[in-house]
């Protein structure tokens, strides 16, 4: 009974957080928009109005599968590491480099590009963990600084190594055709990255929830003293999971480049890593729920995009929705009273039935 309430509670808290966020969004929309009902219609129904938009949702969701799983693994060890953003960006740059300069056959080329992305992403994820384990440097701050370094490093590669002067803006040469990930369906731009992303979700789930390594990581996240007492090598697993989480984000960056773009043209950090944090929080750090959470975030994004194009409400409404969801989901006390009352009531009923 108590278990049921506990599980219910987690979902209800997330559901109520999302509702509050959407309500607040409606409130803001009705303030700023001349035709709020039309704007809201676009936000909610718009994404499903035609197949192309549904395709957009899935396209947007693909990179979030990677960063969502990556962050779930990183945060499961209790490490708040923001390096998924830098890892995603540099993963993309590495893939761009491989795609531009290497001559490889179909099939092999994207794999090599993804491996390159994964390696650099893993390295970026690992650095804040090393700084934490060795020097007690705060992972939040060091990883955010590292994101800027990653950004400039990536831009250097684009600017000086694979820069295409013909385009008139800062971008790389065209990716070789051999490196591009093929599309899955003709109408949309949904690409093979979806399949790879879903494989990562499954593998991430098995790793984190079903393997001995994942078990050790989760125990460290919940109680490092207990893990140590039980004989688990705490430092090693912290490094391992930050490496793996970063690598997954890096692969995601590579997949995004090879699936959605023909040349590297990001001018700033893409934000997919930060969105991954949100996805992971909504999925309760369980890769199993990452597709659902990623779909939801992508849906809100596309909805806001449709709304921005058809009405007078800018797409940035999304960040307000995201922020509100995070603060409520991250709040221990929010609805705790409700949960407590529910448990007390359940126990009382139990006592009553036992006595009868």
């Amino acid at each position: 009974m108590i278990n049921k309430i506990e599980n219910q509670f987690k979902f209800i808290r997330i559901a109520i957080s999302i509702s509050i966020a959407l309500l607040l969004a409606f409130l803001i929309i009705s303030f700023v928009s001349k035709d709020p009902l039309f704007a809201m219609y676009n936000l909610i129904i718009g994404p499903f109005e035609n197949i192309r938009r549904v395709g957009n949702i899935v396209e947007l969701m693909i990179p979030l599968l990677f960063t969502g799983v990556g962050v779930s693994i990183m945060y499961s060890a209790g490490q708040i590491n923001m390096a998924s953003e830098g890892a995603f960006f540099l993963g993309g740059v590495a893939a761009a480099y491989v795609s531009v300069t290497f001559l490889l056959p179909y099939g092999i080329h994207p794999v090599v590009a993804m491996i390159a992305g994964g390696l650099i992403g893993g390295l970026i994820g690992l650095i804040p963990a090393i700084l934490f384990v060795k020097f007690k440097a705060l992972p939040v701050v060091s990883s955010l600084m590292l994101n800027y370094i990653s950004y400039f490093l990536g831009m250097y590669v684009i600017h000086y190594i694979i820069f295409d002067p013909e385009t008139g803006y800062l971008s790389s040469f065209l990716y070789k055709e051999t490196a591009i990930l093929p599309k899955l369906f003709s109408v949309t731009r949904i690409h093979w990255g979806l399949v790879i992303g879903l494989i990562v979700v499954v593998l991430g789930y098995l790793f984190l929830k079903k393997s001995k390594w994942g078990y050790a990581i989760r125990m460290i996240g919940m109680n490092p003293n207990f893990a140590q007492y039980s004989g688990i090598n705490v430092g090693f697993y912290i490094l391992l999971c930050q490496l793996i989480g970063g690598a997954i984000a890096g692969i995601g960056g590579a997949v995004e480049q090879l699936g959605m773009y023909s040349r590297f043209q990001y001018q700033k950090l893409s934000g997919h890593g930060f969105d991954g944090v949100l996805v992971a929080i909504l999925a309760n750090y369980n890769p199993k729920f990452v597709p659902l959470a990623a779909f939801f975030i992508a849906y809100v994004r596309v909805g806001a995009d449709v709304m921005a194009r058809n009405s007078d409400v800018p797409i940035e409404i999304v960040s307000i929705i995201q922020a509100v969801i995070i603060v409520f989901v991250a709040s221990e006390r929010f609805l705790a009273g409700w949960k407590h009352r529910k448990i007390v009531k359940a126990s009382q009923e139990r006592f009553a039935s036992e006595e009868a």
Binding site: M1, I2, N3, E6, L206, K210, S211, K212, Y215, A216, R218, M219, M222, N223, N225, F226, A227, Q228, Y229, S230, G231, I232, N233
Partner: protein, 539 residues
């Protein structure tokens, strides 16, 4: 049963005496205080506690006897469920520590209430800072500190930072701090627990000076020689009740000890005589120093053999926790040697030690023993999840683990609906059964059990004790640390007594030991000779 009748007489004597002194003025009187915690634990049962002006009154009792609760009630940190408090003849309602301070009651906590990076003067005046217009006059604070330090002859460097001071001086700051607030009654909660003998002597001198100046002091302790040295009267608590109030000079240490350690319920465990075999664990000249530089573990030597239970008796906080943590490798920087099957563990990891079939029940169930948020299953498998038998093709073998865990839940009688519930949904006793199920089911050759039954119900306690005996019969070496004397005597084959980090007694046959005897050793009244102590090392 001799001790019970003796106590009876003693209590009559006490009653007569207390009537004689009724005419004298009590500065403080707590009457019929009952305190029940929300989990149903009754910490104080109709306690009467009276203190006269200008005396040093000892409040003594074992761990869990209710001393701290009573003082929390007095200091306003807990509210009594019934009973009344009279202060200077007036009935009062102490709702929080500030009220207590305003009335004139101050407390020096065991964990100092000081801000480490601030100076002595700043700590002294915190909350009542001198200065105008929101400014803080540091000069004034230093002057106040120096004045009060001179007035009570308790010298202190007002401008030193707290973190640079030795423990004894920190305590002095605490005392000065409450004196500055103009209190008449000082409560000292086990003030000597953290002090070296020299610092203790110094503290006693200071307290005697304060007494001469007319202050009233309530002194909480379980070190009897200290009480004999310092206190005028004493009140003894046992299991939440007062077992006596008396003049310290009227009683011998033995008599006080008996008032403290008697038991209402006696348990007996049926077991055969131990058949000790080879030595599993031997500890040689082991010492350990805490972060304040105090020598918490003091030159210990003993050994535990397969097929025997060696009990370690002692008041909590006399180095037992540090000892077991050192053996389990949770604590570093040992001085001396710990040998497992003759091999030093100093360079081994916890996993390596556990793989040699060492089990450890930590006394800190919440920090080390369990993961509060994880499921029962996850809590049980933490020491074996990686083993081949529980893994199949890179993944953990869920079916095998499920069967294993369900078997253990059944065998160890854990009352729960499902192995997948978070362990926090269990009662304390059932939670401990989960810990025990993990630690006892790995076919251990050495079991380190630190307070395995503390704070849990009678049924679960009995179950765990019987299991310990079973393990012994199967050939395991058991090291049982407990502050529960009845438990130590009944479960152990031989007993070692620890006091102040040292071994003070080795009692070869636990069957012939009485609680009174143990009490005298653990409270530091008696100590065996070095020759007698050497026998605990079997080589």
């Amino acid at each position: 049963m001799a001790s019970v009748s003796h106590l009876f007489h003693l209590e009559i004597g006490v009653r007569i005496m207390s009537e004689n002194i009724k005419v004298e003025e009590y500065i403080l009187s707590m009457e019929n205080i009952t305190k029940i915690y929300s989990n149903g634990f009754i910490a104080n049962k109709s306690v009467n506690f009276k203190v006269r002006k200008g005396e040093i009154h000892a409040l003594i009792g074992e761990n869990g006897a209710g001393k701290s609760t009573l003082m929390k009630v007095l200091f306003g940190q807990e509210q009594p469920d019934s009973g009344e408090i009279f202060y200077k003849g007036k009935k009062t309602n102490i709702t929080n520590p500030l009220v207590a301070l305003h009335m004139g009651i101050g407390m020096v906590h065991q964990h100092f209430m000081l801000v480490p990076s601030l100076t002595v003067a700043e700590n002294m005046v915190l909350g009542v800072e001198p200065g105008k217009y929101g400014m803080f006059s540091y000069k004034e604070a230093v002057k106040l500190t120096n004045d009060i330090s001179k007035k009570y002859n308790l010298p202190i460097d007002a401008e030193a930072k707290i973190m640079d001071l030795p423990v004894g001086f920190k305590q002095r700051v605490e005392i000065l701090k409450i004196l500055l607030r103009g209190v008449d009654v000082l409560i000292l909660d086990e003030p000597t627990a953290v002090l070296t003998p020299q610092e203790t002597d110094e503290l006693f001198k200071q307290l005697k000076v304060l007494k001469e100046k007319g202050y009233t002091i309530i002194f909480i302790s379980h070190k009897l020689h200290e009480i004999k040295k310092l206190c005028d009267n004493l009140t003894v608590l046992r299991n939440g009740r007062v077992t006596g109030t008396a003049k310290v000079s009227d009683l011998t240490e033995q008599e006080i000890s008996k008032m403290m350690v008697g038991r209402d319920v006696f348990l007996t465990i049926k077991k055969d005589v131990a058949q000790p075999k080879e030595t599993v664990l031997s500890v040689k000249n082991l010492s350990w120093v805490d972060k304040h530089g105090k020598r918490v573990v003091n030159n210990l030597s003993f050994s535990v053999r397969a097929g025997e239970i060696l009990g370690i008796a002692g008041v909590e906080g006399n180095g037992q926790r540090e000892l077991t943590n050192l053996i389990a490798r949770l604590e570093e920087n040992q001085i001396g040697e710990i040998l497992l099957y003759g091999k030093s563990i100093a360079k081994q990891s916890i996993r390596e030690i556990r793989e040699q079939k060492i089990s450890h029940i930590s006394e800190d169930r919440m920090t080390f023993g369990t993961v509060y948020e994880a499921t029962i299953e996850e809590n049980i498998i933490s020491d074996r999840f990686y083993k081949k038998e529980f893994n199949k093709n890179y993944l953990m073998d869920a079916k095998k683990i499920k069967n294993h865990v369900n078997e253990l839940i059944k065998e160890y009688n854990v009352r729960t609906d499902s192995k997948d519930l978070p362990i926090r949904t269990l009662s304390g006793g059932n939670m401990q059964k989960v810990v025990v199920a993990r630690e006892f089911s790995s076919d251990p050759k050495l079991v380190i059990a630190n307070q395995p039954t503390r704070g849990i119900d009678v049924g679960a306690s009995e179950f765990i004790r019987k299991k310990l005996v079973t393990l012994r019969d199967q050939g395991a070496a058991v090291l049982l640390v407990s502050a529960d004397l009845n438990e130590v005597i009944e479960v152990s084959d031989s007993i070692v007594v620890m006091c102040d980090g040292s071994i003070v007694a080795y009692l070869k046959d636990a069957k012939r030991v009485t609680e009174e005897q143990l009490g005298e050793y653990m409270l530091g009244i008696k100590k065996q000779s070095d020759e007698e102590l050497r026998e605990v090392v079997h080589d």
